[in-house]
Symmetry: C2
Subunit: 233 residues, 2 copies
């Protein structure tokens, strides 16, 4: 019984990886770089994107980058509506069709949104995943890079409790830094815990509210577009 379950799960992940590779081929063909952005609910993914994309990003050749957002939510279009007020194309993807609402995006869900995405008109696609610190880290969707937002209001112990998520990312954005003075929170301890589960990973302290760290985030996002195409998903 247990072995059957493991095999079903492995088959599901195999199928997901196959579709993720197909997505990646489509992204590469259109020369679009893709970021999978993850976090717990309410960590501030949308607020950070609102700040970071408020003005156009600039590429290596000083040209304006064309950025799109794929909004993943169990239900509703609150975040997509917020981002639509910026000058970026936004496509909403709801996971509520699955069993009470899927807690993550998978490659097939992203694939279903591709026809709406107009990849030929984009340089960078940001996929805002469902707020969850477990399953989104398990499902590649064809992205080039993965980043997560960790809010300091969540406590210093989250890397130790959700290590796969912190290991899956190449950037950990530490948000809500403006609240540091009001919390019993030890930033050094969080940084220590992040480094313990993902040694050397880049961290970026930020405040979507004050804008601190947002220029660095904009630079990091823009640099994604100058990466060479890589075959591996």
């Amino acid at each position: 019984m247990h072995r059957t379950k493991v095999r079903i799960v492995e088959d599901a992940l195999d199928a997901n990886n196959t579709i993720a590779r197909a997505n990646r081929d489509d992204f590469d063909r259109h020369d679009v770089r893709v970021l999978n952005l993850m976090s717990a609910p309410g960590a501030g993914k949308t607020s950070l994107l609102e700040r970071a994309l408020a003005a156009p990003l600039t590429g290596e050749d000083d040209g304006q980058l064309r950025v799109g957002v794929l909004e993943g939510d169990v239900q509703g279009s609150i975040d997509a509506d917020r981002l639509a007020t910026l000058h970026v194309p936004v496509v909403q993807l709801n996971t509520a069709g699955g069993f009470g609402g899927e807690c993550h995006l998978d490659a097939n869900m992203v694939r279903s949104a591709l026809p709406e995405l107009r990849l030929g008109e984009l340089d960078l696609l940001v996929i805002e995943n469902v707020g969850n610190l477990v399953c989104p880290a398990e499902f590649r969707v064809g992205e080039d890079a993965r980043a997560m937002v960790c809010s300091i209001t969540e406590g210093e112990d989250k890397p130790l409790k959700y290590p796969l998520m912190f290991r899956a990312c190449e950037l950990v954005i530490i948000n809500k830094l403006d609240l540091l003075v009001h919390l019993d929170f030890d930033l050094d301890r969080l940084l220590y815990n992040i480094d313990a589960v993902n040694p050397g990973v880049r961290t970026l302290p930020c405040s979507a509210r004050t804008g601190d760290g947002v220029p660095e985030l904009r630079t990091w996002l823009a640099q994604l577009t100058s990466r060479p195409v890589a075959a591996a998903v």
Copy 2:
């Protein structure tokens, strides 16, 4: 293909409900009332329990209630270690054995912990679920009641984005109220959104840090033990 997936999911939920009923029978046989406590990561479940269980709870007959905690985490025993400093028995349940870490507790996981729980020595069992606003709401574990903790740092929109979780609970604890003055947060809007998805549900504003609302939470917990045994899971 889709129909097969739906059937597998339905079978899994059926199996879960069967095991949940068996758990419930065991709880009833020992006259233990069980609370399933859920929230997003870092909303403050453990901090609230530390506050609420710091002194013994008192039952209807003014007798001291015997409370135990089942700690669900993907990995580690940080929360169980915190609670073990109180005078309550704590059993740790890690979900990391599943596929990269299960994002919720299910009835079978809880069942596997029953031999360690010494039900005969408890009046109330609090099951602290994995931090996640989606899947824990889909899996009954044999509990009598479900409550969730919603931190005001997560934003007012969470009931609209994760409606199943807010609908599944009979108490919504609104935590971190001490931060209200430091946030751009509209408490009335959160209450309005909670009522929109679960009309009339009881809400309890709290601060695990200052202790505001904790006496009311202690009363609510104690009252769970005076509920009559009900057959339905």
